[in-house]
Amino acid sequence: MSLVVIAFLVSIAAGGFGALVGIGGGLIIVPVLTVLLGVPIKTAIAASLIGVIATSMSASAHYLDSGIADRRLGLLLLLATAAGGITGGLLGSVIDGRVLALLFGTLLVFVAVQMIRQRAALPAPVPHDDPEGGFVSSYIEPSDGSEVSYRARRLQAGAAVSFAAGNVSGLLGVGGGVINVPTMNLAMGVPIRVATTTSTFMLGPTAAASALLYFSAGVLDPVLAGPVALGVFIGARIGARMSSRVSQGALRVAFIAVALIFAMQMFFRAITG
């Protein structure tokens, strides 16, 4: 079986899961391409970024039309995330990947632990007259049709973390959702379903900002990136259709598991190079 076909099949699975939890699938694609298929890591990262954009494009249309993704919040955070994508793509040529992998793995373990400790306490609805910063919004929960109100708080802190997420996206070829989703959910008070769908919406422009730099540097192989992006596109369509049938609790558990798996991958990369 050729590299093209293998990359295509793996990308379908990665895209489906990525769309479901808002992380883009890069955390699966990059290790498989580099460790199992022997693809140079920068080429794998560039291909993964194209896959991340494809995930976002495919799923965002559905999430926006369903009214779950908070486009206003996403645009606000995108100012920081996309800027981070540029610096991440540029820094990728100078920063030792092993050091970054170690730091990122540590961060993921921390995030996963924090989400585990929050599992029993889903964000409570915020009263409309709550005099805090940020802005109030709501969406219709598809699993039971109820209207869920929330207030997106700590916008400045969220933007700062989003900038870091953009850097990680550009450096590692992941979508940044592994940082954006817990930030929006835990720090900003956004319901997990809104956090994942809004993160998916943000992934496309963020990864595009980085992909341009890899494209111009000549490390983006279109013949490899093509099947990766197509596989992710197909998988993302499947994942987007399934998202409304999955409970918020299940999404949270899935995200925790993925974050821990990704952390172990990063520690392995930091040790072995």
Binding site: I53, M57, G133, S137, S149, P205, A208, F215, V223, G226
Partner: protein, 130 residues
């Protein structure tokens, strides 16, 4: 107290007929742009994969060489079609943001979308100068 965007949204209680959020802006143009970009790029990648599977040779060139890309597509070779698909994938988020600007025109969110487009333009400038 007004939020960061300078507006209170104290009565977000229902969705609009097209399914968009209570903030009111339609999402149809944005979602259409994203969907069309997805489908066109997917078509290009399907062609590239099919050409790869049947064993068509590929002669890669600079992705910035438009004539080389067109020539590769007409031969046909996997590289040309895959390159076109990659370009469409990268461009589509920007097109989606343009649609968002139109959907939010006259509102603060349009400026947010323009800001993100400006950042993407900076990335393009840096890429071209490298």
């Amino acid at each position: 107290m007004k939020g960061m965007l300078g507006r209170d949204d104290a009565t977000a209680t229902s969705t609009t007929p097209d399914g968009s959020r209570p903030s009111g802006a339609s999402t149809r143009a944005t979602s259409a742009a994203l969907t069309i970009g997805s489908l066109i790029s997917a078509g290009c990648f399907l062609v590239a994969i099919a050409l790869e599977v049947v064993g068509r040779p590929t002669t890669a060139a600079s992705v910035l060489d438009l004539t080389a890309v067109i020539r590769s597509m007409t031969v046909p070779e996997p590289w040309g079609w895959a390159t076109l698909g990659v370009v469409i994938v990268i461009v589509t988020p920007a097109v989606g943001l343009l649609a968002t600007v139109l959907e939010y025109r006259g509102r603060r969110e349009a400026w947010l979308a323009l800001g993100v487009l400006g950042i993407l333009a900076v990335s393009l400038g840096v890429a071209l100068l490298r």
